[in-house]
Symmetry: C2
């Protein structure tokens, strides 16, 4: 049985427990997760009775045959409507749908199609049932994440070795080279808009690279990732150019200690709020609590941000197979900031570190 | 007045005509269009009485100050809810919202916030009012599109000059080099997943590049684009490797003639169905009607596909300033296919061609 088939079976169980006869999956990433389909238009009808149906349009007939060989195919320009009519034809009584994905207009169109097609099923939201499944990665997904992280590691290593991170170059130049290198090394795309922040801008958590030149004595903060098989890596490293001042070494070591504490707290069954607190306490104890203004981490997979949220506002516990980031930071406004971030897999033992670039303070 | 301010004023007029006191814009690209904000979380309240309000979260306070200096700023984790409460506080009686963007869950949350905040305004969809504005580009947008198209032109020219498009290389290699080159030349990102299709795969309109090697005598179809300032270029060229057979020259010339007919039909006031027909007729007259299986073109801008649709199922007329593609194709299943695509601006005179790569049959 394919991975995708096993995932559909797991959703089938959830649907059955909730009294649904079928689920109409419209979120494209959820469709990809449940089928393997990577095109830009597709939807999936998962039936508790077993006969699933994948819908897409004529551009993707060939691709669907290759990527989704084990699910019935329905080709139609109006994919969701066609699957909805099929649900009515099958006599589905209670149809689950994704209320966090379907738009208001989409629901109105769906209701109209169902009403026009005959005895309309009752609609019930399945909420984020597929996203909850996606939080725990299987071996194939972990392997894709490993490769995505390896591409990012290697791209940074090559740029550092070639002297691309040197005074006089601009944030924009560095960012573009990092992006281009990741693609050359096999990334399908970059995971998100690469952050390159130097000098005072390193104190801005989400700085967009601009024409500012790298200068001796400045921090250089790089937050970037590669996408492989649809899976995103996420890593931040902060280096110093030329010579590290005492205050720079001090906050670097502080963030590194907090990050180690956060990684150490990643255990099966750990409360996500407690994991955040483990790192946050280290920073607060050093008097920098107010300078760590965001959560500790997040799940990562087919999306760059997905479940679980590891932060003061998160909820729930870690499970084996979750892929998460640990990324504390200390930002001194107008001065400079440090963030150190890894992507890791929660396991029954110590977490598996996927981003392998050294976290020793690098002075370039 | 900034471009963004002029765009907000135009929306204000539409809102007033529809009896709305304010519009809550949630679509992130529409927010970008109306404010200049490029972050990943933002929403906008446009008031017919004039005091607009931009909402984002704390990560983007600095960026909002730089990119959106001329609109009041509201910083809140729950951006849409906070703007909705502000609308109630202002006594908005009728609030427009984007029903094609807001999810079912999003609408439920919005309705709850409004009810909890006091006298809830009546909600009314503005439909795609901002998308309709976006279909006609202003000078700044056209300049960004020009630059995006120039990057794609140059990337292809460099790869061809370096001999990167030669037998023995794989589709995947060519695609990654094209992507990396566009980034190096200043693209923020690629416009979409680059299509590299050779041999029989060139007959698949949306083929994903794979490990197939380029071979002498095969077609090589490249459909790709660069993004600059958020604006997407879109271009397809089909070349032949080594030596062009008669059947290849024949369908190439046919597609080129159809593409020229489509470009010639781009005029202010032209019906989009007639524009499509102008190119389609050329292909049908040659007996290949069934081998041109998609629409002629689409609008392009902040999205790779946006209004207008130029095809048998489109509706409406062209206006000066619209940015559109013209991309007929002839696909012979199992054999090979040709598509030729440009991005152009509709003007009162002849359309302005933005993708300048030659359309003569190139034999590499």
């Amino acid at each position: 049985m394919s991975r995708a088939a096993a995932r559909r079976d797991a959703l089938r169980v959830v649907a059955g427990e909730r009294g649904l006869d079928a689920v109409l999956v419209t979120n494209l990433l959820n469709v990809r997760y449940l089928t393997g389909f990577t095109g830009s238009n597709g939807a999936l009808l998962v039936s508790t009775s077993g006969a699933d149906l994948f819908g897409t349009d004529g551009r993707y007939t060939t691709q669907a045959g290759t990527q989704v060989p084990d699910v019935g195919l329905l080709v139609d320009r109006a994919t969701v409507s066609a699957l909805a009519r099929e649900a009515v034809r099958r006599g589905v009584g209670r149809l689950g749908y994704e209320s966090h994905d379907l738009t208001v207009d989409g629901l109105a169109a769906l209701e109209k199609v169902l009403a026009d097609a005959g005895t309309a099923p009752e609609l019930a939201s399945v909420r984020r049932a597929v996203e909850a499944q996606r939080a725990v990665k299987d071996d194939d997904e972990i392997e894709s994440l490993r490769r995505a992280c390896a591409v990012a590691d290697q791209a940074l290593a090559e740029l550092a070795a070639e002297g691309a991170l040197r005074p006089g170059r601009t944030e924009l130049q560095v960012g573009r080279e990092l992006d281009a290198r990741m693609l050359t090394l096999g990334a399908e795309s970059v995971s998100f808009e690469t952050i390159v922040a130097t000098g005072a801008s390193s104190a801005i958590p989400h700085h967009r690279p601009d024409a500012t030149e790298l200068r001796d004595g400045d921090f250089l903060k790089l937050d970037f990732g590669a996408t492989v098989d649809g899976y995103h890596s996420d890593m931040t490293r902060t280096v110093v150019l030329g010579h590290a001042a005492d205050w720079q070494r001090e906050i670097y070591e502080l963030v590194a200690a907090a990050q180690a504490a956060g990684r150490a707290a990643l255990a099966v069954g750990a409360d996500v709020v407690a994991v955040d607190a483990a790192a946050r306490q280290v920073i607060a104890d050093a008097g920098h609590g107010e300078h760590f203004s965001h959560g500790l981490g997040h799940g990562v997979g087919l999306e760059i941000h997905e479940a679980p949220v590891i932060g003061p506002l998160g909820a729930g516990r870690l499970a084996a197979g979750m892929a998460v980031t640990v990324e504390p930071g200390v930002y001194l406004p107008g001065h400079g900031g440090v963030r150190i971030e890894d992507t890791l897999i929660v396991t029954d033992d110590a977490p598996e570190l996927l981003t392998l670039t050294s976290k020793e303070l690098l002075v370039l």
